[in-house]
Amino acid sequence: MESFDPVILARIQFAANISFHILFPTISIAMGWVLLYFKTRFNRSGDEAWMDAYGFWVKIFALTFALGVVTGITMSFQFGTNWPGYMQHVGNVAGPLLAYEVLTAFFLEATFLGIMLFGRSRVSNRVHTLATFLVAFGTTVSAFWIIALNSWMQTPAGVEVIAGKVHVQSWLGVIFNPSMPYRLSHMLLASGLTVAFLVAGVSAYRWLRGDRAASVRAALKTGVTLAAVLIPLQILVGDAHGLNTFHHQPAKLAAIEGVWHTERGAPLLLFALPDEATQSNRFEVGIPKLASLIITHQPDGEIRGLNEFAGAHPPVAKVFWSFRVMVAVGVAMLLASWLAAWQLRRRGEPAPWLSRVLVAMTFSGWVATLAGWFVTEIGRQPWLVTGILRTADAASSVGGGMILSTLLMYLALYVVLLVSYVSVVFYLAKKAGTPAAANLEGVSA
């Protein structure tokens, strides 16, 4: 078993755990706010449709939140077991940021979740609304701290390094490091879009099954409108994030654009097979000068190539293709949401074919979010903390065999959970449409 490289295995295991984990916070961050929106609409209008929508989506929220909590516990153990060198070198930054996340966010959301889910008959409507707000607020605060830490690892600032160890000079500099505002906005919008398509997709599914409840229409409209509003914002923020990467992480940007050698007037590559061996792309299809134009705002602007980062640039093909998957999903989101918004305005309902497209895109936000995180995390390699700590220098001495066996266990579990989650979401949608649904509320969790 010693033939397995523990560093690679530790990375795969960590990547598998954190990828599976992020699926659920991505939903619960924005879903908390959508639930607060439903609740507020009900409080204002007294229209039961909004409360029905709340009642349906809060169940999916509970399920999502539970998955987020239990997969998150795994993370708190693996920071130390898989990356002991991490705290040793950058603990002065990572320690306080992680501690603040637990203290200011985790308890807040987990404690008020109980009241939000099961407390409606036990507290006043006002306190229940407040609990909903605090849960949504907690999820967002959690995102703030963890994105601050992740961004600091991408673009460290506010510290000095003495004998391989970082010491904080300015906490504001650490938290609001150069890429943090961009990454946080990008992630919050990604969460919003994921939830928008989830709500739109599940509502379209109910609509297609002939469920014409007022709450279904309200949720469908909410999902589609939210998606149509957020996607152009996301494209703008994504572009700004790219420019930020160009300035602070040029090697990552070169991998995204597939630029092997520094060039002026670089084309925007739609397709290519990057080849590490020959340091070139095969089967390039591109639009001349467009990459330079987008990134430098000049058709002949210079993009530094991977040749300037020999031995210290990320694996190109993975970053290149993850980026294209993310952008492709974004374009599909733009088309689907705008068309659906237009049809809802014109005809009051989306055409059946478009409803089916929305159903197919129910979890499209997950694909784009994961692809985006692959771009930024693989794009950071070989660094764990850019310029300060290499991934290999933080890895654990736990044996490869041990990591492999637990990795297989986690993977098997995740497949089961993912299948269960997706099928339960659609099962709940199906069940909600049946006349007996109201009586089936019963004991729930």
Partner: protein
């Protein structure tokens, strides 16, 4: 008294409080999970309802405890969790299984409910047992050999019994009628296991470590420490006497002092935890690393301490609020 001396002690204290809160809070809901297969279908729903609003937050104390170990004692985090890699992985598997089964059991198709119930109970048992094994391995300083591993397995069974006792006490307090009576019988059976476990750990720990033995068995420390085992013993005695009496009262439709078994069990856990903490302190990896050797830089600890000083009282306040909202006997959980 410099920061280098004091801060690690404060953080060891904070970490101990978090883990103690975890053991008590998640202890009762894990215990209820282990007991789930013993209930009838409708009783199961009540059992789950009694822990429904709390379990997410209960598990957060584990994240805080392990998080504090990571940020305040990173070297110890690496060693301890590296040594405990396998039981930790099994515990996480158990926690994940039960956490999701909790939701899936009422949301998935009805024909899948028995499978999710089983997953909930099995996950709870796996998590409780693994935590006991982790405790046993930790106390022997991760010693190799069959005896040390045998001790760890016994600790696994012992901690499970303690959690079951907490869970049964919780059910006695939060339910009524037939379920409450059955919970009283479950508590009586768990009491024996938990008692044996406490006894075993108390005997084996000083035998395994001469350093711990000298901390306890020298005068005058021994006399000062004597109340600890004596009060623990008294609480066990109280439970042994009061549980049959409670059962008799229940039969007559009166459940006065139904909170007593849970409160007495919490007292036992508190005292046992205090005893263990006294044995281990000031080491954090027994025989290898003291809290001062393992601690992070004071600069990081200060920043965390300021945050914790402000936020922890708030957390305790709203946790109390949440428990008050769901005060009294558990009713069926409803989103409406």
């Amino acid at each position: 008294m410099t920061a280098e001396l004091v801060l690690p002690v404060i953080f060891a204290g904070l970490m101990a409080i978090s883990l103690l809160a975890y053991v008590i809070l998640d202890g009762y809901d894990l215990g209820v999970g282990v007991l789930l297969p013993l209930g009838s279908d409708s009783e199961r729903d009540t059992m789950i309802a009694s822990i429904g609003p709390f379990w997410d937050a209960n598990e957060t104390w584990l994240v805080l405890g392990v998080g504090l170990l990571l940020v305040a004692f990173p070297m110890a985090h690496g060693i301890i969790l590296g040594e405990l890699y396998l039981p930790v992985a099994l515990m996480l598997l158990g926690l994940i299984l039960r956490g999701v089964a909790f939701d899936f059991r009422v949301k998935a198709q009805a024909q899948h409910q028995p499978a999710w119930n089983a997953a909930f109970a099995a996950g709870s048992l796996l998590a409780a047992g693994s935590q006991g094994v982790m405790l046993g391995r930790y106390l022997t300083g991760f010693a190799p050999g069959a005896a040390a591993w045998g001790f760890a397995l016994l600790a696994g069974a012992g901690l499970t019994a303690a959690y079951v006792l907490l869970g049964a006490g919780w059910l006695i307090m939060k339910t009524e009628g037939e379920l409450q009576q059955r919970a009283t019988r479950w508590a009586q059976r768990a009491l024996l296991g938990a008692g044996l476990a406490v006894l075993l750990v108390s005997i084996a720990t000083p035998l395994a470590s001469s350093r711990i033995a000298t901390k306890w068995f020298v005068l005058p420390d021994f006399l000062l420490l004597l109340p600890l085992p004596l009060v623990t013993l008294a609480l066990f005695g109280l439970l042994a006497v009061s549980l049959p009496r409670l059962a008799a009262r229940q039969a007559a439709g009166n459940d006065n002092f139904c909170w007593l078994p849970f409160a007495a069990t919490v007292g036992i856990v508190l005292l046992s935890f205090w005893g263990l903490a006294y044995s281990v302190f000031p080491e954090i990896v027994i025989g290898r690393l003291s809290i001062w050797q393992a601690a992070s830089d004071p600069e990081a600890l200060w920043v965390i301490l300021i945050g914790a000083a402000v936020v922890l009282p708030t957390i305790i306040a709203y946790t109390v609020f949440a428990y008050r909202v769901f005060w009294g006997k558990a009713r069926g959980l409803s989103y409406s």
